[in-house]
Amino acid sequence: MTLLQLDRITVAINGQPVLRQVSLEVAAGEAVGLVGESGSGKSMTVKSVVRLLPPGATAGGTVRFDGADVGALSPAALRRMRSRDVAMVFQDPRAAVNPVRTVGDFLTEVLRDQGVSRAIATEKAVRSLSEVGVGDATRRLNQRPYELSGGLLQRVVIAAALLTGPRLILADEPTTALDVTTQEEVVAILDEQRRLRAAALMFITHDLELAAAVCDRIAVMYAGEIVEILPAARLHDDARHPYTRALLASRPGAVAPGERLVTVPGIPQSALTAPAGCVFADRCPHAEARCHDERPVFTGSAACHLLEVL
């Protein structure tokens, strides 16, 4: 069953394109990874799901959540969707938590706002904290964010995200600011807990391997477009778009030590600077004349004129 449907989403900020026709479906309980380099539009795609667009932004296309057009929701309905059905986890937990309030205040705020009594909200918060592996939960409730390490605080944020029983979790580079060993822990918890609750996940990262480990499908973004969507398990075998292949090949681990890494010439383009035809045409080693002139249609799994050939 489709939980979230993005249909030809476009976003422009002050008239400058950021997203160019992004279409994507997320089934209930499914985890989709959004992978791409900076400026590819990953964050904006996720923000457009809950209409958290910056000032000066104009959006086109439709977002359907559970069948309802998010663009047509009343302000009250949109708030309800943001508070109950969708939860967000950001890159920097320190920026996501009010630094002067206690962890307990942070965890119970939304529940209290929904009319849950203090005692029940606290009880739920304690349970949620232990589920994400935060020990000594009752003591943690009285602590303030600066007393917690980054990894611990991100687990608090995840606990808060799970509290309202969301059906979709939007995680924007949730482990980029963390150390690798902490990243493993946090990602494992996020993965385990969302499976237990059958919540869907949109997971933004620049790390293909990380996305492959926690997601069912991976959408590769470049210059404000999704250029390829494929099952995570088939990432290394089935990647067909030249950009996805370039990303996979440019990781230092992809070749033997000392060998030259495969590089993509030029610099990552944004939706604003991308060529008129295929967005990747100016950096693509296989590009032909039509790649520069015609926009490829997304067919099957990728948007590329040369899928048959490659």
Binding site: E37, G135, D179, S250, R251, T263
Partner: protein
Amino acid sequence: MLEVRDLRKEFKGVTAVDGVSFTVPAGGSLAVVGESGSGKTTCARIVTGLEKATSGTVTRHGSVQMVFQDPYQSLDRRQTVRSCLAEVLAHHRRDRSRIGELLDLVGLDRRLGDALPRHLSGGQRQRVAIARALAAEPRLLVLDEAVAALDVSIQAQILNLLVDARAATGVAYLFITHDLSVVRHVCEDVVVMSRGRVVESGPVERVLSRPEHEYTRRLVASVPRPGWVPRRAVSRD
């Protein structure tokens, strides 16, 4: 080339680096890996003279230069690429005419010489920073997370550049990083740090494929790779 003996650094009573020793041979490439708070960056800053050690010795043979993590803040925003390099060349009494050579060495179009940092991408800025560091023809380059802030495709370009620059100039590298795949790619030896101490060291191949210390094992196991399944640690903090 560089010999560090029994380095110790305290900040207001907190020990950041505790009894750290390592050497970088001429033309060699040593990685110091560890997580935030492991003391690896403090070691780098002591080696380059930005910090003073509380105790211990640092022996440098020849000059040492440094490349920083953040390409957006490691260049003077008011200085063009050319004037940035010219300033450093003049300071080290080297000929201005080497600007073109340096730009070629780091793979920057010579026409970008008149550009200001804000007109350059992150990768291009990091190339300028590397050119600036190489201008003085140092014997050792300290790279403090120098590719961490770059996009994957750009990171690959810079790593290739660093491999080429070492082959061309014979400069030695001290790589400060948290990224084990980078270590595997460009370094011969590695020092693993945790909480200010060296927990394991040796040739990269041996340490990363047959780690002996418990911490190194955890570090190696937590790197996402094909077939990797993230696991929750048993211990809870």
